[in-house]
């Protein structure tokens, strides 16, 4: 009895419930995706789901199109977000904090409400829904995720490096291209991760912004799962997971020198 009490009052014992919980709700479900992906409908091992993906032009095209949309969104976010982050990092700290908060504030409103608000804006301005609306909506939803990490890195940057470059005769342009920009790379990388990954996996947003005319990969996965095609849906999910894994590997290796600080 006494030893039982002792066992439970040891703090490391307290990690056991969570380990079991993680095993059931994180590890097993991910394994299940793999199991389902490599199964045919009658339960045997098969690669049929992946063959179907390659041979069916519709799903493969949607896949490539989604990557394209995610890339365009990410690039626009960098082009719009970098100057904003740069300006903020040069502003007075209290002002900058307020503006950063203003940028993040809309994130607290439900994604679908924000998306419908975008639809409303396009309706209001008599603009057609479609690809343009889709990209605007994506940028609108994810721009703050680009600004924030870049701002964080720029703000923490050692200012004496810039002064040193100036003292050594660099022009303002050189200071930016040779010193500031390379040093802000970790922020850009985590920004890319925080924009590219969610854009590639969205569904629902694209349906609402294009009146269901343009399908993204996430929508394809959701439709398959909803229509009872679990095995094929799982295979498509696995393909998405692989893309995301590759992206995070790629960004991880280039941000090893403390880039994670930009994340939060």
């Amino acid at each position: 009895m006494n030893s039982l009490v002792k066992y439970f009052s040891r703090r490391r014992t307290w990690s056991i419930p969570y380990v079991i919980f993680l095993a059931i709700f994180v590890v097993v479900p991910l394994i299940l995706i793999m199991v389902y992906a490599f199964q045919s409908n009658d339960g045997g091992f098969s690669l049929a789901n992946f063959e179907k993906f390659i041979n069916q032009p519709e799903a493969a095209n949607t896949f490539i199109y989604s990557i394209g949309i995610a890339l365009i969104t990410t690039i626009i976010c960098i082009i719009l977000g970098y100057p904003a982050a740069y300006i903020l990092s040069r502003a007075q700290l209290s002002t900058a904090r307020l503006v950063v908060m203003l940028f993040i504030l809309p994130m607290w409103i439900n994604v679908l409400v924000r998306t419908l608000a975008t639809v409303a804006l396009f309706d209001f301005m008599r603009l057609p829904l479609g690809e343009g609306a889709l990209i605007f909506g994506m940028v609108y939803n994810f721009l703050p995720f680009m600004i924030y990490p870049i701002y964080n890195v720029l703000q923490k940057m050692d200012h004496s490096l810039i002064e040193a470059a100036e003292d050594l005769g660099a022009t303002p342009r050189q200071v930016f291209t040779r010193v500031v920009f390379p040093l802000s790379m970790p922020g850009i990388v985590s920004g890319i991760m925080m924009v590219f990954m969610p854009t590639i996996s969205t569904f629902a947003i694209s349906e609402l912004l294009t009146m269901n005319n343009i399908k993204l990969f996430g929508t394809t996965i959701q439709e398959n799962i909803n229509n009872g095609m679990w095995h094929y849906g799982a295979a498509l999910s696995l393909i998405m997971l692989i893309i995301i894994g590759i992206t995070s590997l790629f960004t991880d290796s280039s941000s090893e020198d403390g880039g994670n600080e930009g994340l939060l």
Binding site: R12, I16, P17, Y18, I221
Partner: protein, 279 residues
């Protein structure tokens, strides 16, 4: 000077772009028209019908579900996450790293993958989906965030205080209650808030785990509503209210954080002054 105006103008432009859609929703929440963008005179009809039950019953129902699920999920994941964090912190390096790695998976995974993987779990176990599965799923993706927000507090804590309490005759449970819990309370609170907002905001995980019995949360309700073509006009009023609540909460949280930072700074100053005097 020109540079300053230009850069300020750029930020203002971006903010206008970011807030224009929200502003339109808020403005048009004060008119009765069924179609957004059609101004039919000022009225607070949408607000009164939202609260008087004039609105379709299902929206109120969805709102209720959202809050019940978020509350249960946030409470359970805060408790589970706290116990887990204390336990993990006491583990040896290798095990700790392994658990932290698994803990990060739901955070890095896209929602849709988390949703589908949990859907497959419930399907394979033969659990019929509904309230229970949504709550379990929400606990599953919220708890890792709670663990993450408590961990730094435990790392910062001076381990000697806990040992001292034990040496002075406190039982481990007393030491836990008197020493560790007060130390990590801020992390627990921010973990709870994070879990609550994540749960309220979630769409992707809910839609895969809510089953076919018509259990709706606010996000799935909006989704179904929008797909039917029209948006319930009362949603404009509701979104506006949510926005105002969020703004007020954020102001309070930020004000508190600023005050705490100031206090910490002052304490730091006093400590350095004391040290100097001692010297």
């Amino acid at each position: 000077m020109i540079k300053k105006i230009l850069s300020g103008g750029y930020l203002v432009l971006l903010l206008i772009m970011l807030y224009a859609p929200i502003a339109i929703i808020a403005i048009f929440s004060f008119t009765e028209s069924k179609v957004l963008g059609n101004w039919t005179g000022f009225s607070t009809e949408l607000y009164t019908s939202l609260f008087s039950g004039g609105v379709r019953y299902s929206l109120v129902d969805a709102l209720q579900n959202t809050f019940i699920i978020a509350t249960v999920a946030a409470v359970v994941s805060t408790l589970l996450g706290t116990i887990a964090a204390i336990g993990i912190h006491d583990l040896r390096y290798g095990k700790r790293r392994a658990i932290n790695f698994v803990n990060n998976i739901p955070i890095l995974n896209p929602d849709i993958i988390t949703g589908i993987s949990l859907f497959l779990l419930f399907v394979s176990l033969g659990i019929s989906q509904g309230y229970m599965t949504v709550i379990l799923a929400h606990i599953a993706f919220c708890t890792p965030y709670v663990v993450l927000s408590i961990m730094p507090r435990l790392v910062q804590m001076n381990p000697n205080i806990y040992e001292a309490a034990l040496d002075l005759g406190a039982t481990p449970m007393q030491a836990m209650r008197r020493i560790i819990i007060p130390e990590i309370r801020p992390g627990m609170i921010s973990g709870f808030i994070l879990a609550f907002t994540l749960s309220i905001d979630d769409f992707a995980v809910t839609i895969f785990t809510n089953g076919t019995d018509g259990l709706q949360t606010l996000s799935t309700y909006i989704y179904a509503d929008a797909r039917k073509g029209g948006l319930t006009p009362e949603l404009r009023a509701l979104s506006t209210i949510i926005l105002i609540v969020v703004v007020v909460l954020l102001i309070i949280v930020n004000y508190r954080a600023a005050r705490q930072a100031k206090r910490a700074e002052e304490q730091q100053k006093q400590v350095t002054i004391k040290n100097r005097v001692r010297r």
